[in-house]
């Protein structure tokens, strides 16, 4: 009797602790997703929703060349941005963790956050100014006599989208890698050196596998939001830089086709999860082969 009561109070405490976040996620995440899912099987004729079940939206989302192109373009841009940011973030995090003196680390972390002091929209406009026709890059190159006419290929295209996104997401990639590197036991490094590893071998066998969880976190943190980015392609993308999120917005707003928008959004979700899933799986295999997981 006593025991059951205790268990109940435990359970109650557990439930009371979990209930608020649970209600929050059910209300704000699960419910909208369920609505989105339901909507993707309906159709819309101008302003009226037809609630008959159909797969037509998914068929259109996956067979129409426009949506396929936009989907693949988003995937491509997002992968390039991820590779760039994580590639640049890794050495930065490495420096912060292994090279910089301990009393400087806090300062470096602080410096990394500087881009966040300005709103993201402001940073996009800054890139417009930098990459613009009479912008900083073109102005400087022309002033130095390297080029005669402004470069066209640096603004209003996919290149500009990649640059803007990479700059914005770099801090998000540095921090998780840095945190994981901080936890790498330094005595392993000494042991590897004592056993005759060159610094490069030591890096490959100790530092890289042990910092991999940070790289995975950084990759996912950058990859998942960038594939669905909406404002960057809209502002710096020009005609060939539009991404799938722009099309989803158009379907919900201008085109009065919320069901197709829902199907596109869910398709993008599936695409992101499968690419992320494959990546995590590959990474786990790598860590297993290194004996680190």
């Amino acid at each position: 009797m006593m025991k059951r009561l205790q268990l109940d109070s435990d359970a109650r405490r557990g439930l009371s602790q979990i209930s608020l976040p649970l209600a929050f996620s059910v209300l704000l995440l699960a419910a909208p997703l369920a609505i989105l899912l339901a909507m993707s099987f309906w159709t819309q004729d101008f302003l009226t929703l037809d609630r008959t079940f159909t797969l037509a939206n998914f068929k259109e989302a996956w067979t129409s060349p426009v949506y396929r192109t936009l989907m693949l373009r988003s995937l491509k841009i997002s992968i390039i941005v991820t590779v760039l940011t994580v590639g640049l973030a890794y050495p930065a995090a490495y420096y912060m963790s292994f090279v910089a003196p301990n009393n400087r680390k806090a300062l470096l972390v602080f410096l990394i956050t500087i881009p966040f002091w300005t709103s993201y929209l402001m940073r996009i406009f800054l890139w417009k100014v930098i990459l613009g026709f009479n912008g900083v890059v073109n102005g400087s190159l022309m002033g130095l006599g390297i080029i005669d006419a402004p470069l066209d290929w640096i603004s209003y295209n996919q290149f500009a989208v990649v640059i803007t996104l990479s700059h914005a997401w770099l801090p998000f990639a540095v921090l998780p890698i840095f945190v994981v590197m901080e936890k790498v036991n330094r005595s392993y490094l000494e042991a590897a050196q004592d056993l005759g590893d060159t610094p490069f071998q030591r890096f490959l066998r100790i530092t890289l596998p042990l910092s991999m969880p940070g790289v995975v976190a950084a990759t996912l943190i950058v990859f998942i939001p960038t594939i669905g980015d909406y404002v960057t392609p809209r502002l710096v993308g020009g005609p060939d830089g539009l991404m799938i999120a722009n099309m989803i917005e158009i379907q919900f707003k201008n085109a009065n086709n919320a069901p197709l928008g829902a199907a596109l959004a869910l398709s993008a979700l599936v695409l992101v999860s499968s690419v992320a899933g494959i990546y995590v799986w590959l990474n786990r295999r790598y860590l297993q082969s290194e004996g680190a997981a």
């Binding site: 101008f46 302003l47 060349p65 426009v66 192109t69 936009l70 613009g132 026709f133 009479n134 402004p150 066209d152 603004s155 209003y156 020009g238 005609p239 060939d240 539009l242 099309m247 158009i250 919900f252 707003k253 201008n254 085109a255 009065n256």
Partner: protein, 345 residues
């Protein structure tokens, strides 16, 4: 502690909802920029201040906001939205007997009558036409809309990211001057024309400020633009010219105020607001300061031909495609097709 918290949150909530705090203040859902007190001098004089404004960047945004239950008294869409908003049950007819200068209102008002009832008071209009940088392109070639297809201007063309203005251009360029009569074949020809123009486009401009920037730097040297932009640029000394008399013509658009269903405030305020807009002083202000036309055609005519020509609103000898309300099905088709073209298909 809890009490203080409650009080603070209540205060914040009240501050965040001016509509509740000031129940007798008109709420206007408008394009950003239209809060200019010069448009409604008489209202400000009568009520001691401007109404409350809430802004939108494009009509579809306003439409979705209203559909989601946002409560306003009066909103400012353009010609294409009237029938859509009416079908969605968002707006109700205007009582024209309460608009003092109804007889002076531009005859375009008839386009916004549905079943004999008037749904929009046309207040402001402008033109969309060929605009170019006189120092960067050969002015003698700027007499036809086909310049948009000329490979010489590849990457130097900017077209509007606005389905009405862009199809006005495409229809004109393919020889249609009244789009309400356009057939499916003509629509397809217009779309094909846009598809041909697409590779030349550096970017589709979203608003006048963006285009002004593109044209000032020279990144765009040829554009299809609202007359407000070149008017402003010329004022700033940028070498820009408007050609409303290109062989194929130019276009005009109209916007105005609609009476939103179940507005939270008294309709008296709304009619005061609409009457203030129709004052000749407002007409003079918008023409001179904004380069836009005004819905009070008597007042606009009174400004004289010289003023109107100066801001690009005078009569022209080339064809004019008025952006009159379209059949909703045709417009839906235009929206989808324009998105395909922008995506490169």
């Amino acid at each position: 502690m809890l009490k203080t918290l409650k009080r603070t949150t209540t205060a914040i909530a009240v501050a965040a909802m001016p509509s509740l705090a000031a129940a007798q203040e008109l709420i206007v859902l408008d394009w950003s920029g239209y809060e200019d007190p010069g448009f409604i001098g008489a209202y400000i004089e009568a009520h001691g201040g401007t109404p409350n404004y809430s802004f939108f960047g494009e009509e579809e945004e306003a439409f979705q906001k209203l559909r989601a239950g946002f409560e306003v008294d009066v909103a400012h869409p353009c010609s294409q939205s009237v029938s859509k908003w009416q079908l969605a049950g968002l707006i109700e007819p205007l009582d024209t007997s309460r608009i003092d200068r109804w007889d002076d209102v531009n005859e375009v008002k008839e386009s916004f009558a549905i079943d004999g009832e008037y749904y929009m008071l046309p207040t402001d209009w402008g033109t969309t036409s060929l605009v170019y940088r006189t120092d960067l392109v050969d002015a003698s070639k700027m007499d036809s809309l086909q310049v948009f297809l000329d490979p010489e201007y590849a990457g130097r063309v900017s077209l509007p990211n606005n389905v009405d203005d862009i199809y006005a251009l495409a229809f004109l360029a393919t020889g249609v001057t009244d789009w309400t009569e356009a057939t499916q074949e003509q629509f397809e020809a217009a779309s094909a024309w846009l598809r041909q123009a697409h590779p030349n486009v550096v970017t589709y401009w979203a608003d006048g400020a963006e285009l002004a920037q593109l044209m000032t730097t020279g990144e765009a040297s040829v554009a299809w633009a609202w007359n407000e932009t070149p008017t402003t640029l010329i004022g700033e000394g940028v070498p820009v010219a408007i050609n409303r008399e290109a062989t194929e013509g130019s276009s005009t658009w109209f916007c105005g105020y609609v009476n939103v269903v179940d507005g939270p405030n008294s309709e008296d305020l709304m009619y005061d607001f609409l009457n203030a807009w129709m004052e000749p002083a407002s007409a003079e202000y918008i023409v001179n300061e904004w380069g836009y036309g005004h819905g009070n055609q008597t007042a606009v005519a009174a400004l004289g031909a010289e003023t109107l020509d100066g801001v690009g609103l005078g009569p022209v000898s080339a064809p004019v495609l008025a952006q009159a309300p379209l059949d909703n099905q045709m417009r839906e088709q235009m929206i989808v097709e324009f998105e395909n073209i922008k995506a490169g298909f």
